[in-house]
Symmetry: C2
Subunit: 412 residues, 2 copies
Amino acid sequence: MALVAEIIGVGTELLLGNVANTDAQMISQGLSALGIHVYFHTVVGDNDARLRQAVEIASLRSDILITTGGLGPTYDDMTKQTLADCFGLPLERHQPTVDSIRAYFSRLGAAMSPNNERQADLPRGCIVMQNDCGTAPGCIFEANGKHIIMLPGPPHECAAMFNGCAVPYLKTLAGGCLVSHNIHIFGIGEASVEEKLRPMMLQAQNPTIAPYAKEGEVWLRVTASADTEAQAEALTRPVIDDISSQLGDAVYGIDAGSLESTLLQQLKRQGLTLAAAESCTGGLLGARLTALPGASEVFCGSVCAYTPLAKTALLDVHASLLERHGVVSAEVAEAMARGAKNRLAADLGVGITGYAGPTAENGVPVGTVYIALCDHHGQTTVKQLMLGSDRNRVRVMAVNHALNMARLSLLA
Amino acid sequence: MALVAEIIGVGTELLLGNVANTDAQMISQGLSALGIHVYFHTVVGDNDARLRQAVEIASLRSDILITTGGLGPTYDDMTKQTLADCFGLPLERHQPTVDSIRAYFSRLGAAMSPNNERQADLPRGCIVMQNDCGTAPGCIFEANGKHIIMLPGPPHECAAMFNGCAVPYLKTLAGGCLVSHNIHIFGIGEASVEEKLRPMMLQAQNPTIAPYAKEGEVWLRVTASADTEAQAEALTRPVIDDISSQLGDAVYGIDAGSLESTLLQQLKRQGLTLAAAESCTGGLLGARLTALPGASEVFCGSVCAYTPLAKTALLDVHASLLERHGVVSAEVAEAMARGAKNRLAADLGVGITGYAGPTAENGVPVGTVYIALCDHHGQTTVKQLMLGSDRNRVRVMAVNHALNMARLSLLA
């Protein structure tokens, strides 16, 4: 029988909305890959009684409890104490951890505050997980038939410890096999996808097919369970092929991660390079591409040209063009794409210009964006889009469309 | 007595880790500003029985239940049905909503799938909240002494409806007054901040002082409650002043939002402009600055120079400099900063070069980053940083330090 895990995020900063619960997202992805079900996430503040309540409820419905946060050195960090109390274990100071915290501070050349030592107080008999990115250790123990795993809150510490220590432990617990693949779709809406695939989605039992919408994208998750990974894989394959052939090139990848990683791989495979000229997106396209390791092999760079001078001096967009057509125009987008391609000696150039808002200018409505692609055959195409009035969404969608135009041009 | 709200996120995509629960973050911020307490967030999948369980538990401990997600047109969208069942209300088709969904599709020039009509089925007697950014309406009803608010899942739809409709409704419910301010600190760690301020933090009752760590930053939240906003404000002020004078210029702002918004305001106040040259951050500094409305007044643009050619051709970094010192060096960072300042005719120029990983090159370890600032007096300073081995963190921290260097130079 499949194991069920529940993730309990501990931290008043989560309840105040100061941060999003990205730890739960990261851990959920990992558990899903292990075939461990997650039916609930809970978030609770730095409050002993309410954390206790959350642990009690989770214990009734889950085999594995994973907490994040509240392991730090300050007085409102109480996860270890509360969890140890809930399961009747005392805390004991763990000397090797004291030593490694001390070593961490001396490596940084920083002074160690005395309250940092409190982080070495851990439930008796637990497995101690070292923190390679910070000072708070995590721990694992088994009690009352439940597996308790405590991870630190800061996202990079949490991810390193989860993947490095908790996943190997969980692998020994999980039996059976669940395989999931995501079909990534750009350019058609969720309802249209479902309308097209409804009979298949309703019939689907193993694998199941679950749709969801993501900024301008639709993902379909195809999940099969079987005794072995190979059997589960074999169940998903015909379903993925069938959906892919029905949706054509709107499917940009299977488990592709993102439009940018798909494009990066296409460029690498074809030995081509890309450069960009960004106006309203302000560098976001470059930032998304270069977030991926290995981007430097195919991405030459981008010019974020926020002023007219930047457009003329760095991208060779003629001042007369700006005057005649306005800065947000098909003509300027095209000149920017060509300028980026030439100046950075790339095979493909994209140019993005638009009004992300909140204010409109020159009679052009907010959300108007022109995207030009100058491809590796020297052909230029321009697309005009109306992307609504939310500044962030306009920028994200403009980048999505630019990446997608480049992707489609490389399919031909 | 203060009201207590609980946020229930509905969606299997959250439990699979495909998306983070940013809706809960956004709503929590809004509730905190209204003085409504939030003690728990729950996330549950698209599953009737488990959603029912979450609603039952939340009803026992909260006055207000806010759900997000599961209002869409597909068969796994069940929030309205389940919540209506839980509180004994039937669903009824709401004709004005059918008409407005129809109008939405015709505005987009898109075909309306028949299953979109299901979105107009709403609990009898509810307040209907129109969706200005999508098709799924939200709703509010009161039953068994609880206030139920259902919002759509997609973040921009959720935010628009929460702020536009739910907040005005909640304002009529909330009495008393809670005021919160965040003190934003960059450059010293959480434990050091607490060590310094411990007696004050432990004594604090009204206002309370809560610390938390954010990528390289520390925030202190100072929260006071009183009968009126003015009284609550008056309670927070001396505490904020005291902390600010103890921490000096490591405090970059009060309720400042971010380092980038602080810098943007400084530049505007002083009538100065900024340009950037980014290598390992790939455009992230530009993307973060231009995410803010009005960035164009003070940000000239940036050159994301991923190739040596980009550095020489667009930033006038001499090829000999690259050869002699290597691409990741103080000298190249300095030349990049100067190149950005000159080429984009800005008052300040920043240059960032480093290895974000995963691989090291030329014997320089991963995480090595040089940041140069060429300020409005023509003075250049360079900082060398070791930012660890996580690619994303290296990039984020490099941008933070660059923003902070520019901020400090404008304080003088």
